[in-house]
Every structure is written in C-alpha cells, then in structure tokens.
Symmetry: C2
Subunit: 487 residues, 2 copies
Amino acid sequence: MGTPQELERLFSPKSIALIGASNSIDKWGGFVSLHILKGGYKGKLFPVNPRHEHILGLPAYPTIADIPEPVDLGIVMVPADKVPEVIEEAGKKGIGGLVVITSGFSEVGADGAELERRSVEIAKSHGVRIVGPNTMGILNTYINLYAIGASVFPLCGCISFISQSGNLGTQMLLWAEKEGVGVDQFFGTGNEADITTIELLRYLARRESTRVILLYMEGIDDGRKLYEVLSETTRKKPVVVLKAGRTGAGARAALSHTGAMAGQADIFEAALRQAGCIVVKNPTDLLDMAVAFSYLPLPRGDGVAVCTLGGGWGVVASDLLIESGLELPPLDDEVISKLDKLLPPFWSRANPVDLVGQADLHIFTTSLHALLEPDYIDAVLTMGAFGSDEFMMRIADAAAELIPEITEKEAGEVKKFAAAIQREFMLETLNAMEQKGKPILGVSMSPRAKLVYNLNNKTLILFPTPERAVKALKGLYQYHRYISRVK
Amino acid sequence: MGTPQELERLFSPKSIALIGASNSIDKWGGFVSLHILKGGYKGKLFPVNPRHEHILGLPAYPTIADIPEPVDLGIVMVPADKVPEVIEEAGKKGIGGLVVITSGFSEVGADGAELERRSVEIAKSHGVRIVGPNTMGILNTYINLYAIGASVFPLCGCISFISQSGNLGTQMLLWAEKEGVGVDQFFGTGNEADITTIELLRYLARRESTRVILLYMEGIDDGRKLYEVLSETTRKKPVVVLKAGRTGAGARAALSHTGAMAGQADIFEAALRQAGCIVVKNPTDLLDMAVAFSYLPLPRGDGVAVCTLGGGWGVVASDLLIESGLELPPLDDEVISKLDKLLPPFWSRANPVDLVGQADLHIFTTSLHALLEPDYIDAVLTMGAFGSDEFMMRIADAAAELIPEITEKEAGEVKKFAAAIQREFMLETLNAMEQKGKPILGVSMSPRAKLVYNLNNKTLILFPTPERAVKALKGLYQYHRYISRVK
C-alpha cells in the first residue's frame, strides 16, 4: 500500500510520457493519446515512439530515457510482451507510476498471468506503481486529464468512480457527460496487479475534492479489508456500490471477465450495507445516487410531501414512496390553511398536494415553503412545474404558424415568459432548499431535460421520472440513518 | 354500453364541431383547437363561437344549429354551466358524441356532481355519447386527430392507451413522440360519466389497428366486469396495466383525484395477472412494454443468451436476468465450437458471451445466429455493438481537429464507416429475428439513441439500459406463458 504522496504524484501528474503513442486512430496508442490531448491536459506531454518524429503534432522521443525532463506518470500502450522492458526503463527514468492500458495479461490465461507477475516484480523493484494492466484508463478532471480509451469528457465535479469494468465505467462517464454530472476522478482498475480497489478507496477517502465515491465491483480478494476500508470511508463521505456477480450466472461471468471471486451475494450485500454503503442494482442508479449526494442535503427523517400539477402523478409518486419504505405524513391544519389561501376550494387538503391548474410561480413557491416548514416533513418531491414550458413553447410555435390573429412577436413573448418562469421555478427551489436545509426532489419529464442545471453558481438537479427521484431520496435517507448511528 | 358502430362514429369522425373554440391560446378552447389543426385532422372542422367570424383562420358558427353539414363528434370547451345546453343542442343536431374537455363536475364536489348527473341525463335522452367530462382529450392518429389539451404528436402506430389521468397520459404520449413510438388511439377517460374504461377496453379489443393496449388505472366501480373484459381482451392482444393507488397513501390520493375506489391492492393485482394482464409499477415500464409487444416476437421459453462487447455488461445483465426469473442456459459444444472460430482463444466459452475486442459485423452477425439456433435459447440480449459508433464519431472529429497527419476527408470516411456499420448491425438483427422467430433485445447506450428505429419498412427497437430490456423481456415471456395456457 503506497503513501498518499506516492499516489498523489501518480494521479495528479505534472508531466506524462505517452509510451507507445501513435498517429493511427484505430490503435489504442492513437486514441488514448488523442483523448489526453483533446481533454486539454494542463501538464507536459512526452510521446514516446521510435518510428516518428512527431505524434499528434507533438515532438516524439525514441525512448523513455530520451525525455529531457522529469516524468511523473507514464501511459503504457505498447504490446504486452514489451511491457516488462517499458517498466524497467520507466523505473530507471524515475517515473512515479504507470497506467498500463495494454491487455493480454492474466485475463487471457496462464502465459499472460506469468507476464503480469514478472511486470509487477520489475515495477516493485523500482518503486514504480501500476494501474492495470488491462485498464481502460484514468481521469483527473481537475488537471483536465482524460487518459482513457473512450471519448468521454464529463465536467469537473465532486464524484469519483472506481470501476472494475472498463466498458461499464466509460458508459457511466458518457452518461455523466450527457446529463451535466461533474466528475472528479475515475479509475478503471483493470487486473489490479498492483494498485487495488481497496487502495484507491483509501486514497479517495482522503481526497478533499471527492465528496461522493462510486464503486462498480465484481469481486475482491480480501473481503475483511474491504469491509474495514469501506466502514472508515463511509463515515467521511457516501460510497455507492454496484456489486455485480450477485447471481450464479453473474458470478460465473465475473470470474471469466476479471477473474474475480464474486462471493456469496446476500452475505456480501449485507456486509456492504453494514459498512454504510448505499447498494444499488442498476448502473443508472449509480449515477442518480451520485448526483443526489452531490447536490442535495440529507433528509433528517422519512416524511415526504408530494406536490404535483396533475393528480395522476401524485398517486403514482405516493405509491412509489410508500413501496420504497418512505412515508407521506398527513398535513396539519396550519399547512392546510396556508394552502387554502392559494388553491381552489376543491383541492385535496391532503398529502400528496395537487396544485391543480396551471404552473403559477406564486402558488409553486408559497406551497413549497409551506410544505417544507413543519418538522414532520423531511423532503419534498415536486413534479409538473418543471418541464411545463415544453408545452407552452409548442403551443406558441403552433399559434404563430396557424392562427392568423397571432403574430410572431406575440408568440415569442409567450416563449420568453415560459422560459423565464422555468428559471424562476429553479431559483425558488434552490432558495427554499437552502433556507430550510431539506432536500427538494424535482422531476422534469421534458424531452429536453437533463439531470444537472447550473444557475447563479448553484446546482439544481431534476430527475427524469418519479421512480428515479424516489430511489435517490431513499438512498439519501439510508445514508442519513447510517451517519446518525455511527457518529 | 354502445354498439361498435356508435363508438366508431365517435372515435373516427368525418366531421367535428369545436364547441367553444377560441383564438386565445391561454384558453382550453384555444389550445385544444390549435392541436387539432396542427395535427392535420383529415375531416371537416366547424368552430362554434358566437363572438367571432373566424377562429384559427376557419369560418366560425354562432351556434351548433348553424353548422350547415352533419357532425359526427363535438369537442366541448365551454364553461361547465354551459355544458348541459351544449349537449341539448348537440343532441338536436344529431351529433354522435361529445368529448367534454370542460372541468368543474363531480371532481369539484356535490354541485359539480349534480351538474354531471344532469348532463349525462340529457345526453342519454338524445343518444349522445360522452367522453369525460374533465378529460384531457382523445387521439386517433389514423385520421390525424389530436384532440387533446397538450401539444403531443406521436406517430401513427399500433399501441392504444386508456388513461384515467390526463397529465400522466399526455406525458406518456410525449415520451412516445420523443422515442419514435407509434400510437393508434388515446383516451383520457376523465370522470367517466358515460363512456367508461370498460367500454373502451371492449372497443379496443375489437379494433384491428390496435395490437397492444395500455391502461393507466386508479380504480374502477365494477371489478367483476373489468375482470371479464380484460380476460377476453388479453386472449386477443396484450394489455399492459399500471394500477396506481396500490398503497394507502396512493389510494387516498386516487380517491381525491378521480374519486376512484382503489380497492385492495394485492387482490386487485392478482386479479389483473390472472386476467392475463402485464402489470407494471412505473410509467416508463408502460411504454417499454408497449414497444416490446409491438415489435418483438414472443419468446417461447425463459432461456436467454447474453452477448456483449465488454465483460462488465455481461455480468450486470446476467444478474438482472436471473433476478427477474429468467435463465441463462449453458452453451452446448456445437455453439461453442462455432464461436471458437470467431473469438480469441481466451473467450469465456460460456453464456454470457463477451465478444471481446471491437465491434465487427461478421463476428456480431455470426454469433447472433449461432446463439439463436439452439432450442434452449428463446431470446438474445445484445449490448455494446449498438451505439459504438458514438465513440468512433468522436474520435474521428477529435483527430481531424488535433492530428496534423489526419485530414478532414479521412476523418469523414471513418464517420461514414461507423454510421454504415451501425445500420448493418440493425439490419442483421432484424434479419436474424425474422429468420429465427425469436426476440433480440438490443441495448444502445448512446446519448443519441431512441427506442424505435425504422429501416427498410421494418422496425427495430433498442433499449437505453439493460434493466429496461430485461423487464421488457420478462413481460413478453409472461404473456407467452399466459397465451399458451389459455389457448
């Protein structure tokens, strides 16, 4: 297990050697290097390739030894049989660590395993740390480092992700990019011949810019140590885990994929929960939980108020909340009398609250504050207001096209108003959340919606469906209970 | 209960009176009329409004009696207190039926309930059928009829949808539009003062262009009749049901929303299943199941082969399949030897099959056929190939921008190739499915993916996540079992 300084040098490098860099974009040495360049890495890059003077427009060096400056990290993209000698040269150069993208090691059989053993031996003798081999790569968005096999460029943020699958990891990063979710670091752990999931967890637990840790795991050698590290880490920050290989078929697939022993699923899951992890079953849930932990306060209890435009959604959301083990407390007279002043006489007078009618800023904001006020309400789920602009925009466009009495200018004003009121809904939601310190889970079902919105240096999240909002809220509440117990 | 001809006249009208049509797009009489116009309704439209000579550019009539031609259907958008006299006039004119959009009836209390009772009485005395009141509207895409309160314009297709919530219904239609899902008819049932969910089910059971029925239901008066109608209908075509108001909180909300008695949830759900319905819990699942039933053959058993690019996804998909009650049968020697010829020596030799390496058309197609061949495989789940073009496109763009040695033209060729191979993946999947008569569930996690693709007059569906594909497959299998049992 390395010192924090050792890993810091490796994962926040000031200079990188691209060993096996290539101008051919159908080769790993080509596209991984291209992604580093495209990402705008803030340090120095030294392509190493004996056959070209320039790689990706940068001066190339025939060997590692030829690089005229110190190098913190090497990205290794040479064929497998060349890897031991690259490690040797890297050691002599004083490189702190290597991300070995190259595959063809223990994952392909006994010969590969021997090559891997030999590589690690050489690395250890020189004090060179290794990520991989057979890794998809790493990200550190704080220094614009995208050293990875897939073209994914999520924004900088506070979520770090350790993945025992490269493809699953990069897919998650692609979703993060699409939804505007900010990422701090990513590690494809590959074969974990040297640096393991456990060591990375310990490293991220200490990293200040990481506020949430995601873990995709197929299996682990030392279950006891994993439990210890997770128990320590979850006291500092939430850890969301997708444990794959839960079933016989899944476990056999995991064994064949990463050679991981999946272990007995129910015991494993119970241990993860006891260690304070939030355990999810779908990759989508990993991202949703990460976003919820990044941008929402924790609810201090299980009482949820539901506020909708349209009764059907209130019924659906109520079912989902109750079925997930949360509660919809009845409203007291004070809250009801506040809402009486806003809503038509036939409103439900109960939780869920159907705001009936159209999206109105005053009604939306006032009812949000009224619902957040009582002690027995720990969170609000709101749907219908967000995304309602979609319909207004469409009506305005159709009117400009088809109604002779309506001018382009009038239609444009309707659209401007619709956009402005959406922005106000968002800002008022952020204000209310800040004032009351309770989470508000917004749902926007607009086709143009995304998970994360940045306004006035604040961040609002909107879930695309009620079921995803409910799952996320459940996770927040679980973590609140855990933290209250252990602190 | 009406005759089929009666409802046919109402729901496939040759002419429509827009009663209470308006040029103000912030009024229901404005935007509902606008949507009918925008949708391109194929019949004749007669706006009725005493204060304007033209509405939406069409000549308007002061009263219903002034319309110079026969009228099949009226869309009613006048204030609630005017509805009884509108029904009277419609009856005298010989209009077959009215879609009463207007709210303010039984959903707002005793006075409204009395108004509703009186309205239905008048309608019955004239033989005028009523949808609603308090309905979001109806669609019949075969005649381009979008008589609905929200701007949603899904394509024409084979799915019909009965919804006891207008907002939930229109949201589903918006999703359908976004994902390219074809819809036949939609009914917001509103207060069901005359035409009920049960009557609509019976009507859709007979309608040839409807191949799948979706039902969002909060409650029903006559459970026994519902059971009978559903049992008859499911023998002809699949019915997918989201029953809301399952929990105490949900049921109370439903009572307040539509006045529906939700009934005892577990008994209700058991009855729905026994009647052959596919029961789902989330609105998203409604749409996914509809699409699966529309475009995939039914699996004849529970044996699934998983085929991925990237091991992690195979592990995740295997877990999800097993946890949902499906099976991953081991592969026999014949299949393994076929795959041996395609794959590197270290491939897993097991189900799930990891195709390792890059997306290759020959490997993809040959392995698909090999996996579909044996009797013990009833369906294939494939992920990784679809959407892989996203990464190639991005690499090509970055290369054109950053690598001096690579020209725009070369990058363009890479992109053309990537697009072409995606198309081939799709066509080969459709071919294989047609040849073998077994469903192939593709997953594409590209940010640009949608559910439904049309190629060469065939339709391919791709799910955005493995969990949604697995749920859909499970639903198909359930329906297969039901149909085998009752036929």
